[in-house]
């Protein structure tokens, strides 16, 4: 059992990294990855929302959606939207600085594919409570890892002589591609 959980964790963290292998959560990846500090905080907010989403999705799947599976998508999105709203209010209360820094990207977690993607993957793979929780933690840490790596690289490119054609998102995408290529190396981690 614990071996299984570890497998799920490492798989979500590295092998099937949400951002670099599955293209989930690209909006914050492109948008808030200019500074390492902001990237870490955004990652934290994501881990938080992902974990809660996993628990709620498990609850909905187990107790409510049995009777009406076609309402799954609609109920997930409603629950996620309200969760993000609550998170936003909590962060505003606890850390106004963080709230200002995250800016528009906090409400945008609602339309962050990673959150809904997690709920859907978890459902499709039939994860139980603990499996879902570990999956969410791995995915959240994976997102944070990708964000921080990206932000560190971008901080350096700020100071270097980048050709003028690459001054916008083109460069970021090429960097993302290289990171993704590097993460593909983890694919051989498990023989499955």
């Amino acid at each position: 059992m614990s071996g299984e959980l570890f497998f799920i964790f490492i798989s979500a963290l590295l092998v099937n990294n949400f951002t670099l292998a599955l293209f989930l959560g690209l909006c914050p990846f492109m948008g808030v990855s200019a500074k390492v500090g902001t990237a870490v905080r955004m990652g934290g907010a994501n881990i938080f929302v992902l974990t809660i989403t996993s628990i709620v999705a498990w609850f909905l799947n187990t107790y409510i959606l049995e009777a009406a599976p076609y309402l799954r998508l609609i109920s997930f999105i409603v629950v996620i939207a309200s969760l993000v709203q609550i998170t936003e209010m909590a962060i505003k209360k606890i850390s106004p600085t963080l709230f200002r820094e995250l800016g528009i990207f906090l409400p945008l977690i609602t339309t962050n594919c990673a959150i809904l993607g997690l709920a859907i993957f978890q459902t499709n793979r039939g994860y139980g409570f603990w499996e879902g929780l570990v999956f969410a933690l791995g995915a959240g840490l994976g997102l944070t890892l990708a964000l921080v790596l990206m932000a560190s690289i971008r901080e350096r490119t700020e100071l270097s002589a980048v050709p003028s054609v690459a001054r916008n998102m083109g460069l970021v995408l090429i960097i993302a591609g290289s990171l993704s290529l590097a993460f593909m190396g983890f694919a051989g981690l498990f023989a499955s």
Binding site: L73, V78, C113, L116, L181
Partner: protein, 231 residues
């Protein structure tokens, strides 16, 4: 919205190229990168998105006066989620192969920022006819971007188009192009190409605006460029 009234053709054409959702505004990147490893997948994704965008734009434009301002975003998302559920069920029933290939990304159309963006920026403020034009233009723009990426990736990654081989026996496919990094690289190179093209266009216009020292134009944003042209 700009105070100036837009013409119907502007509403339609804007989304196709000038404000292309993927290539210019960088919205809806998740599907654009994730399911463009073959042309067939790109087409299926574009068609599904077209349906959802068109349906929700029409519906929201029709009921825009009934939606209270405070809960409008949630209302839009609910409408979009309904149409996505429809697409999901239709695809599962009629095109099971595509449904399986696209997998979770069908459900993830809900969180495509492009669709929500059009509702907030356009369909909730304009009459139905205009909303249809705008949704059509945006969806065509999205389709163009997806087809561009799908073709690029399938040709290089598998040496085929829609499953038909186009190169001879000797072609060694660049497998990386159909894997995740290929998605990033393809869009990256397309964006680099676009900005190179824009730079060239600007350089062609530069002789009339000599008073700006060399390099200033390339460091400033778009707004500045626009101002410079007027001057």
């Amino acid at each position: 919205m700009s105070p100036r009234q837009t013409t119907p053709s502007e509403d339609f054409l804007r989304g196709i190229w000038k404000e292309n959702p993927v290539l210019i505004q960088l919205l809806g990147l998740c599907p654009a990168l994730a399911v463009t490893n073959t042309v067939a997948n790109a087409i299926a994704m574009a068609a599904a998105t077209f349906f959802v965008l068109m349906g929700s734009s029409i519906l929201i434009s029709l009921v825009k006066n009934l939606i209270p301002n405070e809960v409008r975003i949630s209302a839009y998302i609910l409408v979009i989620a309904t149409f996505v559920t429809l697409v999901d069920l239709i695809l599962a029933a009629k095109f099971p192969v595509q449904h399986k290939d696209l997998g979770a990304f069908i459900a993830l159309i809900v969180v495509n920022c492009m669709i929500l963006g059009r509702q907030e920026a356009f369909a909730s403020k304009k009459p139905v006819g205009r909303a249809i034009l705008d949704a059509g233009g945006t969806a065509i723009g999205f389709t163009i971007a997806l087809l561009m990426m799908g073709t690029f990736r399938e040709v290089l990654g598998s040496g085929s188009v829609l499953g038909y081989p186009i190169f001879g026996e000797g072609f060694e496919p660049w497998v990386v192009m159909i894997l995740p990094p290929g998605g990033f690289f393809t869009l990256g190179f397309i964006l680099l190409g676009l900005s190179w093209w824009e730079d060239r266009k600007e350089r062609g216009e530069r002789p009339q605006v000599r008073e700006w020292p060399h390099g200033v134009g390339s460091m400033t944003g778009r707004g500045q460029t626009g101002g410079r042209r007027v001057a």
